[in-house]
């Protein structure tokens, strides 16, 4: 029935939604399902005047993977913070295996078998995999020393029973991000967690890594653990979840069974408004415009860096967005770092405006007119410093002259804060107070104080909600119209598809395919990555 609804026009879909919601608001009507292992009943949480959760009901069944989706600020994190003992609800109750509970600290929640896996991993990269699995509960020999042998054997058995294939003696930091994440999950399970919350676990994983994660999740589920899976990647949510709960503006919209669930439908429930425009770039594919004939601004020939990428050749033209898509580890970030002078290439050449260049330092690349927004927020933002200082840093001398004066800086920053849509738009606020998406906008604003010739954007919209993404993409379009040559790098096909004029797919350090002037879809892009 739901599948049918998704195919009819938007209007009737909206009506359909209301019906479904009513129908789905009481999932247990009629049949006697299994007792939920965890239940929220009418949970409300306020912060000062703002309501973060408004009468939310949520049920987690034993042996279930439950997807939790919603735009940024919809209340997902608050809900999970109540579960993990960070916050205490103002109203409503939380039942753990039928018994009302109230956690006053994360340690209490942990003791009751609730495990959290956050986006930022909390493992120790300098220790071995075995030590990480046993973190805080190392087995001891009778002499009171750490029992290394037992630690290795048991952690090895534990990992392989979860289908995780890593060497327990290797340093955790030597594993890929996906591998580290699996070890963290193993650790949480090992410490006795039976309710496991995964917050955006796939956002930095490549396709195969995500598959490994899903396999481990399925294994946990088969063992009777219950998992909450929070993600912006709706395909991932649909792929693994038994049921999905959608939050919007602090309220629960619906809990839907997996059967017949589509991404389109989830998006519609999440944003609750016209999803057509989005759906086009997400699902149907786009037709790229005929290639530009403008003289290239940046030309790269046979660029390579041993161990990272090789034989990369392309041209970026003014007034054009060149999209580069690939999985994590495909070498896109490394190419960008070379273009920006942060890394030295081992082969190949670069030309800027027809002249050969080889920036040895970022400061040199900046002077040449190359700007780079890193994908790593820790490498772009100064959280303890004011927004205006973050923004003026890159071109301080050019924009304020010899003597740095605060009013002038603030005025320049205020304009850019407006232009990039940073909220709240207060240049004197410390940047660390902003949400992740807004910090990213500040980092982008930094490169707009002086118009760059080439602007390289690596994941400029990662972690942003739908509205913020649109704002940033519109800004990028405006820069294109002003004649900037833009290189847009992303591991999200949607981002690359949305506005690119030409698209490269990178795979294993090489350009696998170039798309220009033709129809290209998400599937097609992903098939070359």
């Amino acid at each position: 029935m739901l599948l049918g609804a998704a195919r009819v026009s938007l209007w009737s879909m909206t009506n359909q939604t209301t019906q479904d919601e009513e129908q789905l608001a009481q999932p247990s009507t009629g049949d006697v399902g299994p007792e939920p292992v965890l239940a929220f009943r009418g949970v409300t949480k306020r912060f000062g005047g703002a309501t973060a959760l408004d009468g939310v009901d949520f049920e987690l069944l034993p042996g279930e993977i439950h997807g939790l989706v919603g735009e940024n600020g919809a209340g997902k994190s608050t809900l999970m913070k109540i579960l993990s003992g960070v916050h205490v609800p103002d109203e409503g109750e939380m039942l753990l295996r039928g018994e009302p509970v109230r956690f006053s600290s994360p340690a209490e929640a942990k003791a009751r078998g609730i495990g959290m896996i956050y986006q930022e991993l909390s493992c120790m990269p300098a220790l071995t995999v075995a030590e990480n699995v046993f973190l805080g509960s190392q087995p001891m020999t009778r002499a009171g020393l750490i029992d290394w042998k037992r630690m290795r054997t048991e952690s090895g058995e534990h990992l392989s029973s979860l289908g995780i294939d890593v060497d327990v003696a290797s340093r955790l930091g030597a594993l890929s991000l996906g591998g580290q994440q699996l070890v963290e999950i193993a650790r949480v399970v090992f410490s006795g967690a039976s309710i496991i919350v995964l917050d955006e676990p796939t956002s930095a994983l490549s396709g195969p890594e995500a598959k490994r994660l899903f396999a481990a999740m399925a294994e946990l589920k088969a063992r009777g653990a219950s998992l909450v899976f929070i993600s912006h990647f709706l395909e991932d949510v649909i792929a693994v979840s038994d049921r999905v709960t959608v939050l919007k503006n602090s309220r629960k919209v619906a809990t839907l069974p997996n059967e017949g669930l589509t991404k389109h439908r989830l998006i519609q429930l999440m944003i609750g408004r016209d999803a057509d425009a989005l759906a086009e770039s997400y699902e149907g594919g786009v037709t790229l415009p005929p290639p530009s004939a403008a003289t290239p601004m940046l030309e790269v020939r046979g660029l390579g860096m041993t161990g990272s990428f090789s034989d990369v050749s392309f041209a970026a033209r003014p007034g054009e967005i060149l999209g580069i898509f690939g999985n994590l580890g495909a070498g896109m970030t490394e190419v960008a770092r070379v273009l920006f002078g942060r890394e030295r290439p081992t082969s190949g050449e670069m030309r800027l405006d027809g002249k050969p260049v080889a920036p040895k330092r970022t400061s040199e690349a900046k002077r040449l007119g190359i700007a780079y927004l890193s994908e790593n927020r820790r490498a772009t933002v100064f959280p303890r410093h004011e927004i205006y200082k973050n923004i003026t840093l890159a071109h301080l001398d050019q924009i304020v002259g010899g003597i740095v004066r605060k009013p002038r800086e603030v005025a320049i920053a205020a304009e850019l804060v407006q232009r990039t849509g940073v909220r709240p738009p207060r240049p004197t606020l410390a940047a660390g107070n902003l949400s992740g998406g807004n910090q990213q906008k500040v980092a982008l604003a930094k490169w707009l104080t002086v118009q760059p010739k080439v602007l390289i954007l690596n994941e400029p919209t990662r972690g942003m909600d739908v509205g913020a993404k649109r704002e940033v993409l519109d800004l990028i379009k405006a820069l294109r119209a002003e004649g900037v040559a833009i290189i847009l790098i992303s591991t999200e096909p949607e981002t690359v598809l949305a506005e690119s004029d030409r698209i490269f797919v990178m795979s294993k350090g090489r350009i696998a395919r170039e798309f220009a002037g033709e129809r290209v879809s998400k599937d097609l892009l992903m098939s070359y990555a």
């Binding site: 820790r378 001398d397 660390g432």
Partner: protein, 330 residues
């Protein structure tokens, strides 16, 4: 009510400056009441003369700490610079007269450049590099002076360093130090380089990814620190009228203590010259005031000084916690 809230918010935001300021005011009031000698003009001139050389070195070390680096060689570099200037003045081997002063400063700058290059471009941690340089510079002082104090120093340094040379009642050495401190504040607060120093210390990778040449910034900070250390050495030989190759070791601890007391972070990016000025005054008032206290055994004074410093540091830590909470709440 709203006004009061704003005042509280303002105070917590500026806790990094207000905490040391409060400490300073309390100390001044305390010593003024307990020892009448404290507020005499002559004693205040003493305080200024005592902290002036430290203030100069503290200016340079502020740059280094803001960069999240350290310079342990400042005391040895100060001594070495003094010895070199005196050695050229005596001129048994090479006689340069008063020209020995700028040459000695160039030597100091050269040491700073070596420190800076090896730290920023070669990658030796500044702690280890400047520890090695501490030993090298101390050894060179002993080598050049043949291990003996040099009792002849350029008269211009003597008149600069003496308490009796005053301008409008203020010791000239104090005015000199004030000039250096103000220049330091100007560079840190109002120039591109100063901003680069802060941002390099706050997040080196982000500074680098903003096109800041962070290696150059670190190197230049160590050069500045060596030059100000050299100036401190010159002020010292002026004040003491001799260059002693085995003196001056306590400059290092005094300088770093003063800067950190003022609230500049040892981890970079936060603090500044205004903090350093407060830290210097606290340090100066404390060591001077404790010496004037009656009824305290002289043998206990050093320990007492340490205890008071510890209390001031605790106050800073507490104040910074408030500041952080306030920033987050906004």
């Amino acid at each position: 009510m709203a006004q009061r809230q704003t005042a509280v918010a303002w105070a917590s935001r500026n806790a990094r400056l207000l905490a040391p300021l409060l400490t300073l005011i309390c100390m001044i009031i305390f010593f003024s009441i307990v020892t009448p000698v404290f507020r005499t003009t002559q004693n205040l001139q003493n305080v200024i003369t005592q902290i002036a050389p430290i203030a100069v070195a503290a200016t340079g070390i502020t740059f280094v700490l803001l960069c999240a680096e350290i310079d342990l060689s400042i005391a040895s570099v100060a001594t070495f610079t003094g010895v070199v200037a005196a050695w050229f003045w005596v001129g048994d081997t090479v006689a340069l007269g008063a020209w020995g002063i700028p040459v000695a400063l160039l030597v100091a700058a050269g040491i700073g450049l070596l420190n800076g290059y090896l730290v920023a471009y070669v990658g030796i941690p500044s702690f280890m590099m400047t520890l090695a340089m501490l030993t090298i510079a101390r050894g060179m002082s002993i080598f050049v002076s043949e291990g003996k104090p040099i009792f002849e120093v350029p008269p211009i340094l003597k008149s600069l360093g003496s308490v009796s040379s005053q301008f409008l009642g203020i010791p000239v050495i104090g005015l000199f130090a004030l000039g250096v401190v103000i220049l330091g504040d100007f560079v840190l607060s109002y120039t591109k380089f100063g901003r680069y120093v802060y941002m390099t210390g706050a997040n080196r990778e982000a500074a680098e990814m903003s096109g800041v040449n962070t290696r150059q910034v670190v190197m230049m900070s160590l050069v500045i620190s060596a030059i100000t250390a050299g100036l401190t050495g010159l002020l010292f030989i002026g004040r003491l009228s001799s260059a002693n190759p085995s003196a001056g070791d306590d400059i290092l601890i005094q300088t770093i203590a003063a800067v950190v007391l003022g609230g500049t972070s040892l981890f970079g990016g936060e603090g500044g010259m205004r903090n350093t000025i407060l830290g210097l005054l606290i340090y100066g008032v404390l060591s001077n005031g404790l010496n004037l206290l009656p009824n305290i055994p002289i043998t206990f004074k050093l320990a007492l000084q340490g205890i008071v410093l510890l209390a001031a540091l605790l106050l800073n830590v507490f104040a910074l916690r408030i500041e952080r909470v306030q920033t987050r709440a906004e």
